[in-house]
Amino acid sequence: MGEAAKVAGARGAGVEAKIPVTVDAGFHVNSNHPSEDYLIPLTLSWTSLGALEGGAVTYPPAKLEKYEFADKPLSVFSGAFSLTASFKIGAKAAPGPGVASGKLRYQACSSNTCYPPKTVEVSVPYQVQ
């Protein structure tokens, strides 16, 4: 697991962090808005923002894919994609580096098997200028 590219800005500035994700070929994860209530969505939440504020996450457009185990197409992510988090650097932030931390929860399946939901740590390094 890696981390997003470092973001940098002055106090009060808005910055965006791209969080890259790759799902191996032959697998998919449920999107942030799964087609069925019982499916577990992909969610990114922040546990520590440091000098950053906000952190609203923009998810990519989901794909609708049909699988043998579901009657209707499912809203999923697969392959390589990025999540975008929008922050604002705190007005009183001290100049220097820091790291915002979060958790990405997901649940993956192939065309005929599913794997337990898991949570991975996500970190966004930043530099207050």
Binding site: M1, E3, V21, E36, Y38, T113, Y115, P116, P117, V120
Partner: protein, 204 residues
């Protein structure tokens, strides 16, 4: 910008490898059962069902058992469960039982409503990591074990399979000659004790 990969996906090969070691998906795909000499005893477990009653797999020795590891969030599992309900309904008087092991972290809170909604007609327990490890580290769901009357694993289905494959396997096991009675080690040890089984029955 460095990408990271989902750890579950990285662990996929390992999980499939472990399960393959228990039975081999390729053998199951042809709806064949392992030769009796190659079957290994299904690990016994002690789990509670929805009524809080303790279930041991060994309680079902002498019956053909489908042991299904599943979860409510697993789409393929939801396809198979009605098949198992049908098998249970049709074969319950032939020495056959389905046992479900739900792997939901939220436990009965999510499993009970699901069972009620579907009207599941067989016993379901909440599984745990230990149970999964006993069965080769079950990670991919559904994973279904076909267990013969001797309590040995005759086949393993990893992932959604065909209803016919499962039905054929169950039917083969049901039609197999009954195994010779196991050495009566438990009965004899109890009978050797003061107040053994005969005395207990007489006292009732």
């Amino acid at each position: 910008m460095s990408a990271f990969r989902f750890s579950a996906i990285l662990s996929t090969a390992l999980a499939l490898g472990l399960v393959a070691g228990c039975g081999g998906p390729s053998a199951v795909r042809a709806a064949t059962l392992k030769p009796e000499k190659d079957r290994k005893t299904a690990p016994d477990f002690k789990l509670k069902d929805a009524d809080g009653k303790v279930v041991h797999l060994s309680d079902y020795r002498g019956k053909v058992v489908i042991l299904d590891f599943w979860a409510t969030w697993c789409g393929p599992c939801r396809i198979e469960i009605p098949w198992f309900m049908d098998l249970q309904r049709r074969n319950k008087d032939r020495g056959f039982e389905v046992l479900g092991v739900a792997m939901d972290d939220e436990g009965w809170e999510v499993v009970k409503p699901f069972l009620a909604e579907l009207g599941v007609n067989y016993r379901v327990m909440i599984g745990n990591d230990l149970t999964a490890q006993m069965y080769g580290g079950v990670d991919a769901l559904p994973t279904t074990f076909l267990i013969d009357r001797s309590g040995k694993i005759a086949a393993v289905h990893v992932g959604l399979t065909s209803k016919k494959d499962i039905e054929d396997g169950v039917e083969q096991l049901l039609q197999a000659p009954a195994p010779p009675p196991a050495p009566a080690t438990v009965a004899s040890s109890v009978a050797d004790q003061p107040g053994g089984p005969v005395a207990s029955l007489g006292a009732r």
